[in-house]
Amino acid sequence: MTSTAHLSIQNVSKIFPGQQDWMSKLQRRSSKDFVALENINLEIEPNTFVSIIGPSGCGKSTLLNIIAGLSEPTTGAVMMNGVLITKPGPDRGVVFQNYGLMPWMTVLENIRFAIETVNPKLPLSRQKTIAQEYIELVGLHGAERKHPHELSGGMRQRVGIARALAINPQILLMDEPFGALDALTRGFLQDEVERIWEQQRKTVVLITHSIEEALLLSDKIVMMTRGPAAQIAKILDVPFARPRHRETLDEHPAYHELKSEMELHLTKETRAVEEARIK
């Protein structure tokens, strides 16, 4: 089992400051401060797969960006293995919703770019071997020399996952990785992620909209309240044995109970979001 991380999110709040100087007031463009997250406390144990689910606009992605180090919390701190996170780093692999692949690099080059950036002294042949290994892992054998625009969305995200894993991060952060894919491809890739996770069992934080996705993949599901000032509503344990299979998952007695609890919560929060928008 590879090295993996304990993540501790302590009293994290995020406030996006509004524009309130006299210039913007004069131009009627002033805006109030926006509280995205309020007092988030969360412990993520090593080797667990945690999903964060919540209504849209609840600051899920903001939280992930803070863990990734791309955004700083206004108050509070995120610690990884007891070390404060202040900036992005290769100890955290990030899978982006829009893939974030460089269009001018081939599949192999995209992955090798990540490996070389993190470990510039590694011999070229070794870099290529590692890249090839992860291309095989995500099932992209034969597509090494293709450019992203020649691939389908699902294949692109496999490259995104391979790239994030190839730098051997201690934790994998996934920001709605399948949000841009059609339902069939999404299901297929979820199965792939389940398969890959069984091999590596890294700590994973997954941001998602999908209840089924969260139930299939997670050990713990963090349900968030609606924004602004989103908080953690409840944390659910997902007790299903692994490896899990989409077809047989709903045979587990707790499945429907968990699913309906999540549906209830998300529907309630989403309704409130919609109503707040009308007012």
């Binding site: 982006f96 269009p103 950036t117 992203p148």
Partner: protein, 277 residues
């Protein structure tokens, strides 16, 4: 269920079907024939100035220039190929100088919002100035007609490349930059491996506009500066009242401009990798 076959209504008569391109080509030939025909008839009926040659005479003259482009009977009697080469050389040197200034400067100001805003007034004021307005300044500063031509071309080539480079560099897809950040890439590595390749299609499209304008301007500059080049050729033939040679030069200038544009178009698709600019 016999009705499951969807039947189209196919016309029984078979007509000769042409592709869009074939139709367009036929129409092109028709338009060309009409223009040449009206020209020929108009000149023969004396509808135009007496200087105007007939279409047939112009075609003969065009062919005589094109079939023997590299004769040399002294400074005032050279083949059009020589003039073309001189003009191309000037454009290439001036364009290279302009691009060598514009691309690094564009990168520099594209990376820094402060610099970008500070330099913007200079760009905005200098960009709309006709390149020919720089010509007397060049003559005064450089005291050489050859260098003045290069100077004017260089100045002309700067603006589109500079503006496009700045735009490309400052508008890199933020997700590429996030990827670089999460990998912990250094500033230099981010610049060379991410920002520049991301901006490349914009830079090349700037170069493409620049070379187009440079090719427009070289003719005017050579008319004023004189000596050699296609611009000089046009002016010299006007002094000889050889309208058919001027028309020949116009067509040559147009064709070369088209080829230059297409070459940069190829370069553009070569750096695009499926992106559209």
């Amino acid at each position: 269920m016999q009705n499951s076959v969807i039947q189209g209504t196919q016309p029984a008569t078979k007509r000769i079907s042409l592709t869009t391109n074939q139709k367009a080509f036929l129409l092109f030939l028709l338009i060309l024939a009409v223009v040449l025909g009206l020209w020929e008839i108009g000149v023969r009926l004396g509808l135009f100035s007496q200087l105007m040659p007939t279409a047939s005479a112009t075609i003969v003259n065009f062919w005589s220039w094109i079939s023997d482009p590299f004769f040399n009977y002294g400074p005032n009697d050279k083949g059009i190929g020589w003039h073309l080469l001189v003009s191309l050389r000037r454009v290439m040197i001036g364009f290279a100088i302009g691009s060598v200034i514009a691309i690094p400067l564009g990168i520099l100001i594209g990376l820094s919002e402060v610099t970008s805003k500070a330099v913007d007034p200079f760009i905005q004021i200098l960009k709309p100035v006709s390149p020919l307005a720089w010509l007397p300044l060049g003559l005064g500063l450089l005291k050489s007609s050859e260098n003045t031509a290069l100077f004017v071309i260089a100045i002309t080539s700067i603006w589109p490349t500079l503006i496009n480079t700045r735009f490309g560099v400052s508008n890199v897809d933020p997700s590429y930059l996030d990827v670089a950040k999460t990998l912990g890439a250094s500033r230099w590595r981010t610049l060379f491996k991410v920002i520049l390749p991301a901006a490349a299609p914009y830079i090349v499209s700037g170069l493409r506009i620049s070379i187009g304008i440079a090719w427009l301007v070289i003719v005017a500059a050579e008319i004023l500066v004189g000596g050699t080049g296609l611009g000089y050729f046009v002016w010299n033939e006007w002094n000889n009242l050889q309208i058919s040679s001027i028309i020949t030069a116009i067509i040559v200038i147009g064709l070369v401009g088209l080829i230059l544009d297409r070459l940069f178009g190829l370069l553009q698709s070569w750096v695009a990798f499926g992106r559209r600019v």
